[in-house]
């Protein structure tokens, strides 16, 4: 089973010096946090805010590459999580054929947002994530960490 997810926002994780993309399902009952690097977070943020930078950033270039050859992103799926490594699949059409390409969720999400393509997650991933990583991370958060988000 897969669930369609929306990108709700980005948070900074001071422990890992990384960013978290927050995905939620449509009825807001499930949440999937995905840890991403700084440049990927920045790219996702630009797409969320529909900001067009003066020069194409890497995912804008990726989108331009697909546009140039008339390939289309149909959907992306966050498929698996193994020992903190994330897996996603990008589904595309090119010259009347369908293709599935392995990627990191961060690239898949950054590309989906620029392609108006839906983002899905496997239910097994949602369950694994919420039960393990996020609970642990939230438990370890101290009040002072929240201050850093605004600084």
């Amino acid at each position: 089973m897969i669930t369609q997810m929306q990108v709700k926002g980005l948070m900074f994780d001071p422990y890992n010096n990384a960013y978290i993309v927050i995905l939620r399902d449509e009825d807001q009952s499930e949440m999937l946090p995905i840890w991403v690097g700084k440049s990927e977070a920045s790219s996702i943020s630009l797409a969320l805010e529909s900001v067009a930078p003066p020069r194409p950033m890497t995912h804008d270039f990726m989108k331009a590459y697909l546009d140039a050859i008339n390939a289309k992103v149909i959907s992306v799926v966050i498929t698996d999580l193994n020992e903190n490594t994330y897996y996603a699949k990008i589904h595309l059409t090119y010259e009347d054929s369908e293709y599935t390409v392995d990627s990191r969720p961060s690239d898949a999400i950054a590309l989906a947002l620029r392609s108006q393509a839906p983002i899905f997650a496997n239910e097994s991933v949602i369950r694994k994530q919420t039960s393990e990583e996020l609970d642990q991370w939230l438990e370890n958060l101290k009040p002072e960490d929240f201050g850093k988000l605004d600084s």
């Binding site: 331009a64 990008i90 690239d107």
Partner: protein, 162 residues
């Protein structure tokens, strides 16, 4: 310079990525390119840290556990049978370089506007040649860069290990 079929062949200079220099104080990397015809003058481009590291990984042919962004673009090409034919640094405006990526599939060539960093990160992964136009070569920034770079390298050796 290897021959290719473009009508602009005579005006292009082939480049190879010499190294990626770290600038420890900023979020940038300095990409140092040299001429493949043996000329000793260098061509430098400031790129973002993430793009610089992507180029460094391509130079080292190091493999990450998961595909990084430029590996993914290469993977699209492999899936579709689209070849990255060459990249050309085509223009410079207000110290910003512009690049064009040439794609080829089924005998049709298509071009994409790109930053030099993305273009070169992809070219290195696809064994595609990198060129600069004579015009952009003449207008490249930085005089006495050799001396400046060697100074920077020495400084960085001292500070990187801290």
């Amino acid at each position: 310079m290897p021959e290719h079929t473009s009508h602009t062949a005579g005006t292009l200079i082939g480049l190879t990525v010499d190294r990626v220099v770290e600038d420890s104080n900023t979020d940038t990397r300095i990409l140092v390119l040299s001429r493949i015809d043996g000329g000793t003058e260098l061509f430098t481009v400031w790129v973002g840290a993430a793009e610089g590291e992507s180029i460094r990984r391509a130079l080292d042919t190091s493999v990450t556990p998961r595909p990084m962004s430029h590996d993914l673009i290469k993977s699209f090409g492999e899936h579709f049978g689209v070849k990255t034919e060459r990249v050309v640094l085509t223009d410079v405006k207000s110290s910003t370089y512009f690049a064009t990526v040439y794609l080829e599939s089924n005998g049709v060539t298509r071009t994409i506007d790109a930053r030099p960093s993305d273009a070169i990160a992809l070219a290195l992964r696809c064994q595609a040649p990198i060129y600069v136009t004579q015009d952009v070569w003449k207008r490249r920034s930085g005089q006495n860069l050799d001396a400046w770079l060697s100074k920077l390298d020495t400084k960085n050796i001292g500070t990187q290990e801290v």
